[in-house]
Symmetry: C2
Subunit: 256 residues, 2 copies
């Protein structure tokens, strides 16, 4: 183990393809054993939402989807699969943009993202035509994984469930937190002073999103063989508040 | 040095307050020596834009700023300092939103962010009423730091200049790349296959933004005592293309 200060992002591989009913905590513990690591207080584990969704049965075969008239019309316009659009609409409370082949919606959780987070990649064998949905309640999922890990290890850790989303103004996706438990979603610097003694008036860091993005760096690969990352050495304010608290309230959204 | 796989985020402190004309590369090399580290091929150094801006003389005292009528009217509406608004307008090509005390503009570079990136914190002693502007050309700044480090160390490294910006739909700021050199801004997974052999059709990861966010995790503090971070152990596609390439073109911006 390194003596350096700083933060270590350790990939947790060796996690087999996940099926409905699997325990994410057990899979993580097995992977940690394979990697020769034991959890310690303060560790953060970031888990790709895809394996959480699979474990929770949030997968659906497009063979079983009957598109509505609304979905068919929208799919026509976007040149998309009408069954996929049907699933996206079911997962959404409203459509934000539907143009240039892009479908951005607000999910029932309040996430604003392309395709309501519904994803075909690594969802299942091609002939099954499976898609993976987002977990129903990612904060609860994070809390459950954390609680189960605590029972076994007695460690106070944090768990973040991440996904990769696009941004309105910049190309490419970045990792962000769909759910979290054990780490404060926002790190508040207000009231602290700068190097010249001047008090900061507005500085809140989206801590869980930065952790989620950092973890994505060692996760990201086409085949998603590293669906979890151990973040070690980070000091952070602890909190049981979830990632839902980071969603900007509708009445303060300047880009609806 | 750790034998573990994975990525290490190492804070580079011991960097004194930066003045116009200082060489960022020299300050980084001195900090690395203090930390007992030598650069190796593949290292990425992330530098907070604030010290780059200071070294490039991109600081201004509000005492020297005469607000225009337009700035004064806008400042009235936002209950803001009219001299600060004047500076923000000078740094911007257009105002995107000005309401609820929030001023979001598009900078001359094309960054869309609050206050055109103009920041009072850690800008200078309070009586000087100094603000720090963004570097004029952050990609050139990154390239210069990288080239200077290469002359001394002979190492092929990458340099990213980061800042923290808010997002339209989520609270809090995250680190992102204003400028870069040596690492591909976008990591393109298109054409690769998933774990079931299905070809990915749309997956581009904003690699430099994820690295910038990861570095922010060990940088972020009110007094900004860690203005640079060494990212070691990351494998990434190399490129001399800069961060400007990650800005979404205006005709594809659905949230203007």
């Amino acid at each position: 183990v390194s003596q350096d200060p700083g933060v270590h992002l350790i990939p947790l591989g060796q996690i087999p393809d996940v099926a409905p009913g699997d325990s994410i905590a057990e899979l993580l513990l097995a992977s940690l054993r394979e990697t020769g690591l034991a959890l310690v207080d303060g560790d953060v584990i970031v888990v790709a939402h895809k394996i959480v969704s699979k474990a929770e049965g949030r997968i659906i075969s497009l063979h079983d989807v009957e598109p509505s008239l609304r979905a068919s019309a929208l799919a026509d316009r976007l040149e998309a699969d009408s069954r996929l659009v049907e699933v996206i609409l079911r997962e959404s409370r409203r459509v934000i943009r539907a143009e240039n082949g892009v479908l951005i919606t607000e999910t029932h959780h309040g996430f604003k993202c392309a395709h309501a987070g519904v994803d075909r990649s690594n969802a299942g064998p091609p002939e099954a035509d499976t898609v993976v949905l987002l977990p129903l309640d990612p904060d609860s999922s994070a809390r459950r994984v954390r609680d189960e890990l605590k029972v076994t290890t007695q460690c106070e850790i944090a768990v973040i469930i991440n996904d990769s989303h696009g941004r309105p103004w910049r190309m490419g996706t970045v990792g962000l937190a769909l759910g979290s438990c054990g780490v404060a979603p926002l790190k508040d610097l207000r009231g602290q002073t700068d190097m010249y003694g001047r008090e900061l008036v507005s500085s809140r860091i989206a801590l869980i999103d930065e952790i989620a993005a950092a973890a994505s760096l060692v996760m990201s690969g086409a085949d998603e063989r590293v669906p979890a990352v151990l973040v070690r050495g980070l000091s952070y304010p602890r909190s049981l508040q979830g990632a839902a608290s980071i969603l900007r309230p509708r009445d303060r959204d300047l880009f609806p």
